[in-house]
Amino acid sequence: MTTEPSAGRTFPAKPVMVLAAAAVVVLAIYLGLGGCKPRITVLGEDIPSTHAIEQLAKQYEAQPDANVRIRVVKDAYETMVQKANTDLSAGTGVYDIILSYNTALSSYTRNRYVFTFDETKELMGRDAFPFEGDLFEPTWKEVGWYWIDSKQKPVAIPFSANTMLLCYNKELFGDKAKQDAYQAEYGRPLQPPTDWDEFLDIAEFFTNPEEGTFGLCLQGSSYFIYYEWANFAFGQGGGVMKKNWGWQSDENTPLLLTTQPTIDATEFYISLEKYNVKGGASDDYDYLSTDAIRQRERMTKRDVAMCIMWSDVAFGLVENINSSDIFGFAVIPGDKSMLAGGSYYINRKSKHPVKSIEFIISQLSLENQVTAMKRGLCSPLRSAYEDPGVLEEVPYAAALKESLDRGVYMLEAGPDSDAIIVILSDMLQRMWREGGDVAGALEEVERDIEAKRREIYRQISQ
């Protein structure tokens, strides 16, 4: 019995060799492109500031001595917070750097999720970083400091220094007929208001539905209504709590919600409804759903005199050259401005903490900050605002600098921050919809907040 040779069953050597060669080529290309380089993953909110950092990251990667790949992951705010919290609490170290805000300071520091500023200096073997003396000190303290061993110390390095600015329509303000009429009626020249009485007068002056102009474009959606209201409350001598920094509260920090200045400021804010844009047949404006972006979009219709706008949103308004001729920026009325912004949080479980810090130091060089400012970042470096290119190309730079210089705490940032913000937002929205007694509403809110804060600090102490 013979067996036929296994015709057609020879080992397919040629295809296998071709595949193997292709795999080797692919691997070589991959390695040549830096496949073995360490990779840093940066997580941030999908905003112009993060886009600016992403563009700088690409330049940083290209530097021969960087020896690192950088991936910037952008998400909606809530998603970013949930991802960051899960990664930090699970200790998975997926994200090396997290670009977050001062509301994260409390939990990240208490739970030791991130390196503190002193620890980053130890890792780098340095006593100081070059940018330290150039940061806006109040901004850094607001967005990057917290309690460490019962002392106030820096935790995170700021990546942006935000505030809220007065944005005004230069066309309306520059109209000769309007100027003469305003001068005649109010006895002073028509210019961006420097106090809240002027603010009210100008809003009233420009509100003329028959002419199709409005005094104000306010933000009424949840959270954003609170941010906007805070400018009025703190700017008119009131506020939420008696403290210096947003994160500084504890269970004994006194509330200011039922003080007369806060009540007056809240009544003032609610009374602005009659000067606010009205939606209509050809207008999709809706106060209670207007956030920073919708406010900016509404302003582009050029029939509103003023608004109080976030500085990191203003870039989108002036991105094209023509817009800077239409809109001007100034500090908000009064003698105080809001401090806000975000910080670089370095994950304690990061596999590349040194590389991460090197990247951050590079980001905070003057040259990179100037470049980033022209792409929408509100830089935390003071010297960036003295660059002639920035002053020329970023119309809001001067107002932003002045705001940061006179900035104070206005936004909550402790462990009770979101509870307070939600309660105040709800109250303000209900007041807008239903009216009612402001003092009574604030009393009720203060009782509610006190109860919640007691519970929160009890939870923390357990």
């Binding site: 809530e78 207008d283 919809r433 919640k452 929160i456």
Partner: protein, 561 residues
């Protein structure tokens, strides 16, 4: 020798495989939501940090879902009855356009209504009734055309002999509805009741994107409330925040399942009563017939009813397409980045959709052969069993997102491949129940006698599957695939948590619509390719439907949906 009532097509090993499929799906679902069970022993105690209003929001979500379900399914059925006379080729070729709103998904629909160039003045202060009526109207806009389309197709494939019988006995319209149309559509109605109820109950995007929902404006659904709960507790401790969300998902689970069971079983019963009323003699006594109106339409009335049907059909298609015009406001050509994202999203969604559809068809065939009598009809007894497949749908979107994150923490250590596989598994368990119940519903049309005959003839399993199912229901499988792809494409609860491993046009669109990073021009550029794909899919499927008419399959009662 008597012919056996039912031949067993499956050997013991094959039975094990058949039973393994639903058990595997159920197990995967339970595994997915295991993080909820893990926190089941957490006692909330006295600490109710901003936990007030939980049950108020639950009742609001339930009431909204009940109202939406009743309007959409019953409205869809009666509209389809009105359109039943509409046999025009043009309508058949374009009937798939009625599926467009549901295929686009809630995020795109919300964006379209967000960008309408005007706001109703009655919304400015958010009066409760007017606001919820507006949201309900948008919900109905999205799902009513789906019901109309499916019921219309179902009625077009009504067996000819039944219709001839009714005509010969000069049944009134009410009798037609009560004794013919509704019984023929009941199975489909059971499925639609469950589907639209779940969709409305879990609604998040419409109020979030269009109205920026909040407690201060009384516009929250359950997922909004859970997100707010998370936001408030996260600064205290992120683990506490996550566990709080999962605990409340657990608390809501049983009431949600009860509500879904009521929808799936109670509403069809309501339909039986409603249509029975249409057919009852009492109604005819209460409403005296107006000169032949109740009779079989005479020639003059047939013309009027045809015109009404045409106007109604045209009106429906125009109503579906009209909001798409808002894209003109923000229109910009998609950039290369958007096109790459779109292609990558397509490449992620397509294999999952194919896999789920194939698995659902195979499971549906196996189920019908295994239980030929029990699955002739979707009734109380078998719907309860099928409901078990919908365990995941009883978890709010925020809960699904937390579960996805919890699993991501485990899987991330295994690398990107494991994360992608996890995402595929999550889509499988989320979408499979809907598609398999749809397939089981259409398989109800296989006559029991036919299966008995094949059993008696000892036909092979593959022959039965091919001739009794695959060739007969190709149209339905095509539609199942389209739905499956659309659901995977528009799923965002778990996908956004894995967004930097999974390309998703829907997640990207959500980022461009809300928050400080919103850019409406970029959002419109993202919508355009999705819209083009959806229109292409619906038109291709519609052409297929119209060919079924051309081949005379209607007359033979074949080509079922």
């Amino acid at each position: 020798m008597p012919v056996p009532y039912q031949r067993r097509w499956f050997a013991l090993s094959q039975w094990a495989v058949i039973c393994a499929i639903p058990i595997a799906i159920l197990s995967l679902q339970l595994l997915y939501v295991a993080p909820i069970a893990r926190v089941g022993n957490i006692i909330l105690g006295e600490s109710q940090l901003l936990a007030g209003g939980a049950w108020g929001v639950f009742l609001r979500s339930s009431a909204f879902a009940v109202a939406a379900t009743i309007i959409e399914v019953f409205g869809g059925f009666f509209t389809a009855v009105l359109l039943r006379q509409l046999v025009s080729r043009w309508f058949a070729k374009n009937v798939g356009l009625l599926l467009l709103p549901v295929l686009l998904g809630p995020v795109i629909v919300s964006f379209l209504f967000l960008r309408l160039p005007w706001r109703p003045s009655w919304l400015s202060d958010r009066p409760v009734l007017a606001t919820w009526a507006t949201v309900l109207a948008i919900e109905v806009w999205q799902y009513l055309p789906l019901c109309v389309c499916l019921f219309w197709l179902r009625l077009r494939f009504l067996p000819r002999e039944k219709h001839e019988f009714a005509r010969a006995h000069r049944w009134s319209t009410g009798e037609l509805i009560g004794h013919l149309y509704w019984p023929h559509c009941r199975n489909l109605g059971s499925l639609l009741f469950l589907f639209v109820f779940i969709a409305a109950f879990g609604e998040f995007s419409k109020t979030e994107i269009i109205l920026r929902s909040s407690a201060g404006t009384d516009t929250q659904f359950i997922s909004h409330w859970l997100q707010r709960l998370y936001n408030v507790r996260a600064p205290i401790d992120p683990v506490f925040a996550k566990d709080s969300v999962l605990v409340y998902c657990g608390l809501f689970f049983v009431p949600t399942v009860i509500c879904a069971a009521v929808a799936a079983i109670g509403f069809p019963w309501l339909g039986d009563k409603l249509t029975g009323l249409c057919a009852s003699q009492k109604l005819r006594m209460l409403v005296p017939p107006v000169a032949g109106w109740w009779r079989w339409p005479k020639r003059s009335y047939a013309g009027i009813s045809q015109v009404c049907s045409v106007l109604c059909g045209l009106g429906m298609i125009v109503l579906v397409l009209a909001p798409l015009l808002v894209l003109v406001r923000d229109i910009s050509l998609p950039s290369a980045r958007v096109l790459v994202l779109f292609v990558c999203s397509f490449l992620f969604a397509l294999p999952v959709a194919v896999l789920v559809t194939v698995a659902a068809v195979a499971s549906g065939i196996a189920a019908r052969l295994a239980f030929p009598d029990r699955l002739r009809r979707l009734g109380r007894d078998n719907m309860l069993g099928l409901l078990a497949l919908f365990v995941l749908r009883a978890v709010p979107a925020m809960g699904l997102a937390m579960c996805a994150l919890a699993w991501f923490s485990v899987v991330s250590a295994l690398g990107a491949g494991a994360i992608v596989a996890f995402w595929g598994m999550s889509q499988l368990v989320l979408v499979f129940p809907l598609i398999v119940v749809f397939v089981i519903c259409i398989h109800c049309d296989v006559p029991l006698g036919e299966l008995e005959f094949q059993s008696a003839c000892r036909a092979r399993l593959t022959e039965v599957a091919l001739h009794s199912f695959l060739k007969r229901f190709a149209l339905g499988y095509g539609l199942a695939f389209v739905f499956c792809f659309a659901f995977v494409w528009s799923e965002d609860a778990s996908t956004r948590m894995l967004s930097h491993y999974i390309s998703s046009a829907t997640v990207e669109l959500q980022m461009k619509v809300i928050g400080k990073g919103a850019e409406y021009g970029e959002a419109a550029a993202l919508v355009l390719p999705s819209l083009a794909l959806a229109i292409y899919a619906t038109l291709v499927w519609s052409r297929w439907v119209s060919k079924s008419f051309d081949l005379g399959e209607v007359r033979n009662g074949e080509g079922h949906i």
